[in-house]
Symmetry: C2
Subunit: 374 residues, 2 copies
């Protein structure tokens, strides 16, 4: 699609509530096109201004909103893809997502380019929420924040975003932005609700109450769009703020059951001490998807030597707590060595056979996701 | 799971908002268990009091609510299945639905038992809507009802149900129930909204306005739960009411784009005249999923001889209008002869290779879905 105007590969069918897009369409452009038609494309990876729909589908991207709205897979109605032998397939029906080839379309979602090359997609759109409201809560310690997350989920509120930042992340953000976050903050929650205005007000008030009942030191609800943007700025600058602490970072992406979030973060803090790295933890607490980041200096051989054992210890911690290797960033090369541990030999063998079936000459994204046959 | 108490194979994890169920769990029991925990399992096939989750997953079942909430595939987070060689696989992560084997789990959804035997599933649950309200609108003709459907979707309201019944269906229901449906009614819409009480009231009022603006002869909004149940009774009795018209019926299930619904129903009415069968049309208009039913007498050879050509004409009409062979009932044996027409030789060949890969000895649901290799 090189040379094509960015928006030209996006067609919105407002009646059918479907976006037909080229794989190279930028996620944020699809969101903009949908919203111009009064509709909504929920998946919102933090990379949305640069990431493409093809990449989002290949990795089954999520984002803060996936807690309420589901992940990219939930919005893929149909795909066009090129198989390794050159066959062009159109799988899924682009209607209600129930045609006889829908399962095949879904097989390609999250396959990270290892089974076929995705060229086009039809994406389900939903009605655009009329209002949104963000509430920030700061806690003295992580346990109080995590038990508040559990209490929110148990109360039946489904936020459109429920982001957790640990003490190290808050300190890094404060050093970068100087917005007055308390230096003794142990954890912070950003809680977004969206929907109809009255309900959004009621939900935001209930979230504030739950945070206070959970021991929050400070609770602040956005009054307007400017407030709203300021609260989310703290979350958006995390990546860049962390580069001020140490020159390099290894960004991880694990998922654990919600009741295990606190235990998981505690274990990561132990790993931080054991391996002598600052490790920050932030992420989408509402669905247990955490982003532990190991901060290191790539020029220091002493750092790079300890890096992989520390990363491995984090993966092992996630698996031991009933979690998974990847929340939303996929497997790629980095987590490939851990796939056998995560899935076991039998499941790996089945996947290797499927990969060999689709791609007998290993032409498609070789060396990714699956370990070599043992 | 024979001998097990029906509810014993259902475990609700309220914090994670997941139901872990045996494949034999009855759909309505899963819904009940979820609602007892203040949660909601949206897929609602009309067979829900007898259908099992295993069957729902195998056919990717829908129902009225799938317009707003998506289909069974959107709620499957993980599956346990037995492959043809006896390997037991656990695919999907049971957390946010983004683990490295999520796509494989989705490959089995809708595969109609042809790729593996599903034994267990982890299903995503959502918050239970606080309120619901149904509005019925009767129109003089089908075009008015169909253009109202388009207008509703364009207005950005997403009903939790938007059911269409044609004149023949209304007459059959009235003959059966005697609830005072007008004998000259050309079409009826049942429009359900759910969510927060204030919003539900506002949406129901807007739906009533849109129906009146669309030329509805009568519009009635349920005042309470009894009213609500009475309005849906007309929809629920359709199957049994039709057996009073002719002893047998061939129930079809096609999907077409929403702007093609009126054209599709008109074409089906022509087919009804051409082949001299009463053919009724009802279904989930909001996502273009229609259920044309050919009413016939299986004891009359004259009827049975014309039956398949009539069914074939309906399938061809759906495909010609950009639709699909199956909305939610799957392919099975009935639509198998039309698969090559619907998908083309190349796609069929790819699917046959995948089937052969999973099931080289054709042990799993032989003779279903895919045509034989040509």
């Amino acid at each position: 699609m090189i040379g094509l105007n960015r928006m030209e590969q996006i067609t919105i069918d407002a009646t059918q509530m479907v976006a037909h897009v080229g794989a190279g369409a930028v996620t944020a452009d699809v969101q903009t096109a949908a919203e111009r038609a009064g509709l909504f494309y929920p998946p919102d990876p933090s990379s949305q201004t640069v990431s493409t729909i093809g990449g989002n589908i290949a990795c089954n991207a999520g984002g803060p909103r996936c807690l309420k709205y589901g992940v990219t897979a939930d919005y893929v109605l149909a795909l066009t893809a090129v198989l390794a032998d050159g066959t062009i397939v159109r799988w899924g029906d682009g209607l209600a997502g129930q045609g006889p080839t829908n399962g095949l379309a879904q097989l390609l979602v999250g396959s990270e380019g290892t089974l076929a090359v995705i060229t086009e997609a039809s994406l389900r759109l939903i009605a655009k929420p009329a209002a949104r409201r963000t509430t920030m809560a700061i806690f003295a310690d992580l346990d109080a924040a995590c038990s508040t997350v559990e209490r929110i989920m148990a109360a039946g509120i489904v936020p459109a975003g429920l982001e957790l930042m640990d003490d190290t992340t808050i300190a890094a953000v404060e050093a970068f932005l100087k917005i007055g976050l308390p230096s003794d903050a142990g954890a912070m929650l950003l809680m977004l609700v969206d929907g109809e205005p009255e309900q959004v007000d009621a939900d935001a008030a209930q979230l504030a109450d739950l945070a206070r009942a959970g021991g929050a030191l400070r609770v602040q609800t956005a009054r307007d769009a400017v407030d709203e943007a300021n609260l989310w700025k703290a979350r958006r600058v995390v990546s860049i703020a962390l580069t001020r602490v140490r020159p390099n970072r290894l960004g991880e992406d694990i998922s654990v059951p919600i009741p295990q979030i606190a235990a998981c973060v505690r274990r990561i803090k132990q790993i931080s001490l054991e391996y002598n790295f600052p490790i920050v933890v932030y992420g989408h607490a509402g669905d247990g998807n955490l982003h532990p980041n190991i901060l290191f200096d790539g020029r220091d051989p002493n750092d790079t030597e300890r890096l992989w054992p520390a990363a491995e210890a984090i993966f092992a911690a996630a698996l031991a707590l009933g979690g998974t290797l990847s929340g939303e960033h996929g497997i790629g090369t980095l987590k490939r060595p851990f796939m056998r541990h995560a899935l076991g030999d039998d499941l790996i063998a089945v996947q290797q056979r499927i990969k060999a079936h689709f791609d007998p000459q290993t032409l498609l994204n070789p060396g990714k996701v699956l370990p070599e046959a043992s």
